[in-house]
Symmetry: C5
């Protein structure tokens, strides 16, 4: 997630340098063309680029809106993960019959709580296409859990399977009653849903042709605008066109980055920082001594 | 679902060739008309196509948005199917009283889990209007289940009926308690809802007149634009008009394809690939040896 | 619901003939005025109709979007009715303790299932303002149920009251346990909610002044456009203005029809066909011999 | 709620007469200015009002959309109140163990059902800022309930407190079992939620500065348009500007009225009529003799 | 929350004075430039600022809409907090087995109810970045609760932990049965969700680049508009440009303020006033003598 610090110019510029360079090239090209063959070029009436420009702005604004909705949906999914992770641990503490289980009960809560933390880190990593069993997991999971998830292709789902096994065991031993088992099961189902939603956003390509035609449409607009401008403002055309093109491309890129919030880029949903928040909250519930600090921000973003 | 590979030009072109050809024809026609009867043609003020062009862009942008919402809703429904399929199997594993049933319980879980996989494939096929009992189902379903669903008109619904019968039997035998039965029933109800939602999207025609009038409106705009352009840019009119028309028609087609995400076309929701993912996940829960590979992508799309 | 067959021209034309005729009249009137008093008419700058035209397109596009949302919401409500009707019967089959009730239980399921089918038809009829106790109900309901609902003003709600009475009786006899009663009650509550939502859409007039001012705004635009066009394109004005007006009015009418999806018109939500689908599905669950055919489409629509 | 009868012109006109009068004044003022100091006035290029006009239309269309959403949300809340009121009474009838309570049970149902009707009227009145304990309540509530709510500041909430007390008593006496108590409690929680939502819509001022700046923006547009028009269309400017201004102000006012649906105005959500519908429905469930008629419409609206 | 009183001019002006001053500066600069080097400046065709102006209006309108949605979502979250706080106390009163606990039960309800009030104030303060344990908390919480939350980093979450502990104790003593415990747990989970949602809105920066590019785009538009205007309207350009710029910047700022509804500013969601409403409602349920007055409005806003 980008934060409200000074975003370096080179970061912004790198995003659009290819497109802007192409626009620079053809606006120079048209300018030269104009100098030598001015009588053969059409006299584009200025309303034509007006229509195209407004059409594109409209489509771009709607696309930006849809991308924003995707980005916000991804953020909501991770918000739900925060809530359900905290609720799961609170419910465990609240429901567990300690009279019956004593130390074993406390250990079971700790095991489930730590695995829940590990699940958050693991899901974040796996959405970003990074190694899902990172060093954090080695610290939080038992050896037998680690060796189980190594055999499974969908690691975060494997962790939920282990949760479900533990809850079944707790129910069998009478540590949670029938109602409480069903209530805990509902929380696990919600976590499973959130995982599925994040996977859906990550795996569903934003309609490809839509973006493609829009990109082509922007170029068509710029070419026709360029033809229209040469006549009227001469050499000024080159900077004016480049600036306008930059803005359109920047907005297009902003939409593109918001569409895919799990790409291991600065514009990502900050899943690592969120997992850390969950770790802090859960460890405070456990009254654990070893509470970590929040993830610090990078130069201008937070992961 | 189209994937972010190079989409072949012929695929894009085939979508709009009829409309573009028609535009080409009448722009040539107007050009000829102009050459011979220029004094009888009206001098369309250029603001007229501006108004029409912007109106159409607006309506098109809104339609694209509504189509996108439909497409995204279809994808969400299939996301919910993934989540609920996985949850169903996890819940079965978690709830089943194995002390009571032993091997029979394990078999019951496997039967339900396999039928759940079969249901996903069957629903996908039936939404696309393909043969719902494909070879996959023969492999996953018992002979008696197959012969039952052959007698029923709504195959996926028939599979859910069989689920419900099995769950009733498990409850009667005491393998799941009263709470758990109700919780499992809720999951089946959610699957039944998702099926109903997918059928709704599939069976509800996007308001016909809306699309029709918009199509007519685009032609009206192009004719008036053509009349306005002949005067000013001469022969250049033909390529300019064709390019603009292409973009409008491409965007209209994109909307049209997104409206109907279960038409056995490359732009479909990738229900086969999703069903395969569910198969992989469920088989890993069952610790089945025979886990298949994900569905590979076609040339530029995935089904 | 209109279907994707050829929609007859007379159907489309009938919708807007009054408005188009009015536009034809005043565009001719202005033309004549122009011939005789051209020097007294204002020289409307063409940007004025541009502003108005774009404003109207915007408001129209938003209105179309809101109408579409209402239409889609109505369709979703009926989708939920399909799902909950099917779920209700599946749940009854799944929960009913047959050991206890035997034949009586099977009869109870059949009675509730048939009444559920009757409820769907009855709700559809009553939303459309038609006779809610049609011949279908006579076939599906018992005589005592029929005589009860005749005494009640809200017929579909009366059928739900009878459902509730039956479920209470089944619970009292021990045919469903405490959990199952509550779960069945939830399904009935959802049906009651869907009924209320459909009534809400049907009874809530779309903000009247909004539509009124927009209609007036379209006329203002057409008058000013007409004044602007006379000068420039002469006699061509009449067909051009009529075509543009037609498109605006067609889109306005499309919005109007989508707003009210239960008016016994071809653009309605196809509640009869949906009720038939429910009948087919439920009768297959009951393994009834007498499964009807789907409702056939009319000329270009389905009710 | 305005109904689709003829809305009197004086009602529409009264809404905007101040703004229109102001526009009339300054368009006359500019006209006079023009006659005497034409050489000192700027020659506003007509594209300037075009930009402003389209910007305002956009902002106005979005605002109208947000207001519509608020209005529709208010209507949905009252739709949920209808559904949950009916469900509450149906559930009471369905759950109550009559064997145990006999006449006392029937009385308890009637008391709760009547109080539910009273709650609907009371909530409606209190949202509109009218006396919440009207004559209707005197008829429906027991003396002790009336004297209790008189001591409380939030009357509708006080009625829910009484509901909760009664349900507790019924549970204590064994008239409803543990499950049923929880299910009834859920219905009361939903009613409490709907009340809170209606209060939220009523108490949250639509962002003030947003509306303020838009109103100022419309004036800026009209002034600049007026300056632009004087030159071109002379005396015709006055009626043209007044008409255009009227339409903009009418649409702005429509948005304003939809924002606040509980202001005791003709554009209100028709809470009295809805409460009456609930009364009719509930009394029919109770098989009460004394069923009232629906609320008749006023001249052109229904409260 | 701003209220519908007269908003002081200085408040509005302070928001945009820097941007307006910059616009004033460069419009004077261009004017001077024009006087001395008019022949070297490009003759910007007026359609260019038209395209840019409409594009920006579009993007601004969409951004305003997204900000409005965020603002309304924040208000909804606090509406849910009102509802769930009231429901929690109603449920406690309704469920608590007083026969068993007597005075102790009443004390437990009071302790939980007071802590719920404290939680609302504490959450509001902590969202605004103020001291979360204010004097109000000292009055409402027991000394042991205060010392516990002092050791925790997330104070409102710590209060919920204490709630959960109390509810567990009540269940262990038999004051609430198994069903009721689960129902109360659901209410606490909903409160935990609302807290998480408010934190999400507060911690998620609105996409930074989006706002940045839009701000830059507005300047680009104003520069090009300025270049276009100098020629045509001379010295009038300076006030016209400043007024137009002010409106654009005001609307941009309105969007910016609505994005972040917990910043301890007059445009905030009025969390203190809402917490006070909850206090009043809960204290009336407890029939507490000491009911406070609603929070009075400040000059033109309410916190």
């Amino acid at each position: 997630m980008l934060i409200e610090k000074k975003i370096p110019f080179r970061y912004v510029f790198r995003k659009i340098k290819n497109d802007v360079f192409r626009v620079l090239l053809f606006s120079i090209a048209f300018h030269l063309l104009k100098l030598f063959f001015s009588e053969h070029l059409p006299l584009i009436p200025f309303q034509l680029p007006t229509i195209l420009g407004i059409s594109i702005s409209l489509l771009l604004a709607f696309k930006l809106n849809q991308s924003y909705d995707r980005w916000w949906e991804a953020r909501k999914v991770w918000g739900a993960i925060v809530n359900d992770s905290r609720s799961l641990v609170l419910q465990l503490k609240s429901f567990m019959n300690e009279d019956l289980l004593g130390v074993e009960g406390a250990l079971a809560i700790k095991r489930l709580a730590y695995r829940q933390i590990a699940w958050c880190y693991c899901l974040g990593q796996s959405l970003r296409g990074l190694e899902p069993i990172a060093e954090k997991q080695n610290e939080l999971l038992r050896e037998e859990d680690l060796s189980f998830i190594r055999t499974q292709s969908n690691k975060p789902f494997a962790l939920l399977m282990l949760h479900v096994g533990d809850l079944k065991e707790l129910h069998r031993k009478g540590a949670v009653n029938d109602f409480q088992q069903v209530q805990l099961d509902s929380t696990v189902v919600r976590l499973c849903d959130s995982m599925g939603k994040a996977e859906r956003i990550n795996n569903t390509v934003f309609p490809v042709t839509y973006g493609l035609f829009l990109h082509f449409f922007i170029y068509l607009f710029l070419v026709i605008l360029s033809l229209g401008l040469v006549e009227t403002i001469g050499l000024y055309e080159i900077p004016v066109l480049t600036l306008i093109a930059s803005t359109f491309f920047l907005i297009e890129k902003t939409a593109k980055h918001m569409q895919d919030p799990f790409r291991n880029k600065p514009t990502d949903t900050s899943v690592t920082a969120i997992a850390r928040t969950i770790e802090i909250n859960i460890k405070q519930v456990l009254q654990d001594k070893n509470v970590p600090k929040p993830v610090p921000a990078e130069e201008f973003y937070i992961m």
